[in-house]
C-alpha cells in the first residue's frame, strides 16, 4: 500500500499525544508487543501494526480493525516495550476519543458493555453482575448466552439475584456529574 505522508496525516498521532501524553513516533516496529499480546491472534491489526497505522495517520484502518476493542488491557505490551511506550494508554485514548463518535465498529458489543457497566454502577454504586449479564445478552440478541454456566453458579450461591446498593452511590453520582461538567468545559 502506498501512503502519502502529509501534515494532515500526523493529526491523529498529535491528538493522541495530547490526550494520553504518549508519542507513537517512538515505535520502531520490534514487534515485542504483538508477540506477547494474548489477543493478537484475533486482531485485524496487531499491536505493532496499530502503532504503524497511527504513525501514518491511517484513521480508517485503525477504526475498522477493531483492535482497540479486542485489547484485553492485560498490560503485557507496556511491560515489554523497549521504547517504554504505554500502548494501553494509547488504546484507552482511542477508546475514549471514539466512544461517542460515529464510525463502523466491527466489535460494537465492547463499548456497549462499558456504557452499561457504568450506568449500573452509577445507579447502585457497585456492579450488579446478574443485571449486567442479562441486559447485555438481550442487547447482543443472544438471550441464552452462558445459561449452561449460570446454573451451577446459581446453585452454589454465586449469583445474587438482587443488586447490592452502596451508601457511597450518592457521592459517586455527585463526583460523576462534576467530572462530566468539567469535561464539557474543555
Amino acid at each position: 500500500m502506498r501512503v502519502e505522508l502529509t501534515e494532515d496525516g500526523s493529526r491523529l498521532a498529535k491528538r493522541l499525544q495530547r490526550i494520553t501524553g504518549e508519542n507513537v513516533m517512538l515505535c520502531y516496529q520490534c514487534k515485542k508487543c504483538s508477540l506477547g499480546c494474548p489477543s493478537a491472534y484475533a486482531m485485524k491489526l496487531k499491536p505493532h501494526e496499530l502503532m504503524r497505522a497511527l504513525q501514518l495517520g491511517l484513521e480508517d484502518q485503525v477504526l475498522w480493525s477493531g483492535t482497540m476493542w479486542i485489547c484485553l488491557s492485560c498490560e503485557t505490551c507496556n511491560t515489554r516495550c523497549p521504547q517504554d511506550i504505554n500502548i494501553l494508554k494509547l488504546i484507552d485514548g482511542l477508546r475514549i476519543y471514539y466512544l461517542d463518535r460515529d464510525y463502523y465498529n466491527p466489535v460494537r458489543e465492547l463499548p456497549m458493555m462499558h456504557r452499561l457497566f457504568l450506568k449500573l454502577v452509577r445507579r447502585f454504586g457497585r456492579i450488579y453482575e446478574l443485571g449486567l449479564v442479562l441486559i447485555l445478552n438481550l442487547k447482543m440478541v443472544n438471550p441464552f448466552k452462558d445459561t449452561d454456566m449460570a446454573l451451577p453458579m446459581f446453585v452454589r450461591g454465586k449469583l445474587k439475584l438482587l443488586p447490592h446498593r452502596s451508601e457511597g452511590a450518592r457521592e459517586l453520582r455527585m463526583v460523576m456529574s462534576r467530572l462530566e461538567a468539567m469535561e464539557e468545559e474543555k
Binding site: I19, P38, S39, Y41, A42, I70, L72, S73, C74, E75, T76, N78, T79, D92, R95, I96, L99, V107, E109, L110, P111, M112, M113, H114, R115, F117, L118, V121, G125, R126, I127, E129, L132, V133, L136, M140, K145, D146, D148, M149, P152, M153, R156, G157, K158, L159, K160, H164, S166, E167, G168, A169, E171, L172, V175, M176, R178, L179, M182, E183
Partner: protein, 290 residues
C-alpha cells in the same frame, strides 16, 4: 496489624468463597480487616475505556474513605481493583493536573496516603513465612499445584512494584510453606481474558483453555489463584472449554487462601470449598485433606 479492606464487587457475590477464605487466613495470621466505609466499584476496565478522570475518581472515592477513617494500608484481593487503585494513587501523587481536577470533583481532598496491597504482598512480608509455617496443622503433602498469578498483579512493574514481573514467586513460596509442591510452568502471568468474558467469550475460552492445558501438561492436581476474575473464568467456564475443545480437564481452581485455610486446619465449608464448580475432592484426597 490493622488494614482497610476493599472486597470489591466480586467478593460480595460470585466470589464469596474468596472472601470467606481470605478472612479465615487473615484471622489465623493476626491480620485485622476492616471493610472500607461505603465503598463503591473501582470502575474496572469500563472506566478507563470511557474517561481517564473517571478511572482515577472511582478508586479515589473508596481510598478517600479509608484515609478519612485513619487507615494507612488497604488490602484489595481482586486484581482489577488492585491495579486501578495503584494507578490512581500513582497519578494522584505524581500528576499535579490530575490531582487538581480530582480535588475539584470531591468534597474530601484525598492526599494519597493510603498504601494499597494485594493479600499476597502482605503475606510475604518479612517474618510472615515463619508465621505461616508455624500455623500449619495439616501439610499439603503430595499436592502438586501450579500458581497462576494473572495479568496485572505484577504488571506493569512501574505501577505494581511487587514480585518478579515475568516469573513471580510469592504464591509459590506460600504453597511451599504449606507443605505443597509448586510446579514450574510458563503460564503464571498469561492473561485469562476476563475483561471480555461477557462479550467475546470465544477469545476467553481459547485463552483459558491454553492455561488449563499448560497446567495439565506439567501434571498439576490444581491451579492456585489470587483473583476472583481468573477463578470465575477458569472454573465456571471449564465445562464450556471441555466441550469446545473436546478434552477433559477437571482441574480445580482453588484460591491460595483456601489452601492456607485447609493447611491451618479449617473445615472445607468454612472456606467455601463446596462453592467451587470443578470439585477439588480428588485433588485434596491426594494429600488426605478431604
Amino acid at each position: 496489624m490493622r488494614y482497610a479492606y476493599f472486597p470489591g464487587c466480586s467478593l460480595g457475590a460470585s466470589a464469596s468463597d474468596y472472601d470467606l477464605s481470605l478472612k479465615a487466613a487473615c484471622r489465623a495470621l493476626d491480620i485485622e480487616l476492616v471493610e472500607v466505609r461505603d465503598w463503591v466499584c473501582c470502575g474496572a476496565s469500563s472506566a478507563h475505556a470511557t474517561s481517564h478522570l473517571l478511572s482515577i475518581a472511582m478508586p479515589v472515592l473508596s481510598l478517600s474513605h479509608a484515609e478519612a477513617d485513619g487507615f494507612e494500608r488497604l488490602i484489595a484481593p481482586c486484581l482489577a481493583c488492585l491495579s486501578r487503585f495503584k494507578v490512581a494513587n500513582k497519578e494522584m501523587q505524581e500528576d499535579p493536573e490530575v490531582r487538581e481536577k480530582i480535588h475539584r470533583a470531591f468534597d474530601y481532598q484525598y492526599r494519597a496516603t493510603v498504601k494499597v496491597y494485594h493479600p499476597l504482598e502482605v503475606m510475604t512480608e518479612e517474618g510472615m513465612m515463619e508465621a505461616i509455617r508455624s500455623r500449619v496443622r495439616k501439610k499439603l503433602s503430595g499436592l502438586k499445584v501450579v500458581c497462576y498469578y494473572g495479568c496485572v498483579l505484577t504488571r506493569p512493574p512501574k505501577v505494581a512494584q511487587f514480585d518478579i514481573c515475568e516469573n513471580p514467586q510469592s504464591m509459590d513460596s506460600i504453597v511451599r510453606a504449606l507443605g505443597g509442591e509448586p510446579l514450574d510452568w510458563s503460564y503464571k502471568t498469561e492473561c485469562c481474558g476476563v475483561s471480555m468474558t461477557l462479550t467475546r467469550s470465544d477469545i476467553v475460552l481459547k485463552l483459558s483453555s491454553d492455561i488449563l492445558r499448560a497446567a495439565r501438561e506439567v501434571g498439576a492436581h490444581a491451579i492456585a489463584v489470587c483473583c476472583p476474575l481468573c477463578q470465575a473464568n477458569l472454573d465456571s467456564r471449564q465445562i464450556q472449554i471441555e466441550e469446545k475443545y473436546g478434552v477433559h480437564y477437571g482441574i480445580p481452581i482453588i484460591y491460595f487462601t483456601q489452601l492456607m485455610g485447609l493447611a491451618f486446619g479449617a473445615f472445607p465449608r468454612e472456606l467455601g470449598l463446596e462453592k467451587l464448580i470443578t470439585s477439588p475432592r480428588d485433588a485434596l484426597e491426594v494429600c488426605g485433606l478431604m
